[in-house]
């Protein structure tokens, strides 16, 4: 399939929405020829960003929704997750790899997202909330931005 497919959904703030996002991203990535490992990683990044939007952003509120988008073509897939929460400052998030945090029971989601896609952007959304944009390229050569992994 060489054409671009797009999907834009408003999902409820329940954990099933994270499952849905994961499955959708995985199936689309498969259709466009991403490798089994890339599909796995994309699914995980989609799940983790959705869980953050649902749990930290929208705090499971029934009044709040998560805007979930996928745009996929032969070269790359872009997944965008946007919540209606209070926002946060990614640079202030404790490093889960440091000695003092390694035994924490949480705090590894953003680490996995960054490890599993080629490019991640986290910024405040207007008028409220957080938007996370994740890009993964289907072939490694195309991934000219992979240094962002280390950001």
């Amino acid at each position: 399939m060489q054409e671009v497919r797009e999907l834009h959904l408003e999902l409820g703030s329940t954990l099933d929405s994270a499952d849905a996002a994961e499955l959708i991203v995985q199936r689309l990535a498969e259709e466009y020829g991403f490798s089994a490992e890339q599909i796995e990683h994309l699914g995980m990044a989609a799940r983790e960003s959705m869980v953050n939007a649902i749990v930290h952003g929208n705090a499971y509120s029934k009044e709040k929704h998560v805007r979930f988008s996928v745009v996929v073509g032969p070269e790359k897939i872009t997944v965008t997750v946007r919540d209606e929460g209070l926002g946060f400052s990614p640079t202030e998030v404790p490093d889960p790899l440091s000695r003092e945090n390694i035994l924490r029971g949480s705090g590894r989601g953003l680490l996995l997202i960054r490890a599993f896609v080629d490019h991640v952007e986290i910024h405040p959304a207007e008028p409220v909330g957080t938007e996370v944009v994740m890009v993964k390229f289907s072939s490694p050569q195309a991934g000219g931005q992979s240094e962002h992994k280390e950001e």
Binding site: L15, A18, D19, E40, M44, R47, E48, V51, V55, P96, L97, I102, L103, R104, G105, S106, G107, R108, G109, L111, L112, A115
Partner: protein, 113 residues
């Protein structure tokens, strides 16, 4: 429920066979409850068999760590058995491989306590 657990004992070690997906929600709650139950009953040697667990998310990983620390606080030890490639990759990325004793052979794992 996407995670099922069953418990057996081998030479004083409680082995928890986990099958399915360990993700935030019912599944991670089930893992937590199972381990807390075992600790409450005085078990000190707990081996989590992840041989049939092909998927775990960051909350599942967090739950593994919490099981480990909760156990440690009570003088008990949680170890891992048969970690599959996908899960092992996550232990590497998160450096949690530095926390857990992990085995591929059950009798070796049992003997290690």
């Amino acid at each position: 429920m996407s995670l099922s657990t069953s418990i057996r004992e081998v030479s004083g070690v409680v082995i928890v066979d986990l099958s399915g997906r360990i993700t935030l929600g019912e599944a991670s709650g089930k893992l937590r409850d199972t381990v807390r139950d075992l600790l409450a009953k005085g078990n000190k040697k707990i081996l989590l068999n992840l041989g049939d667990c092909t998927y775990i998310d960051s909350s599942g990983l967090g739950e593994l760590v919490s099981s480990y620390t909760t156990a440690a606080n009570q003088g008990a030890k949680v170890k891992l058995l048969n970690v599959q490639k996908k899960v092992d990759d996550l232990l590497q990325i998160t450096k949690l491989y530095t926390v857990f004793d992990s085995y591929t052979d059950e009798s070796e794992a049992v003997a290690s306590y």
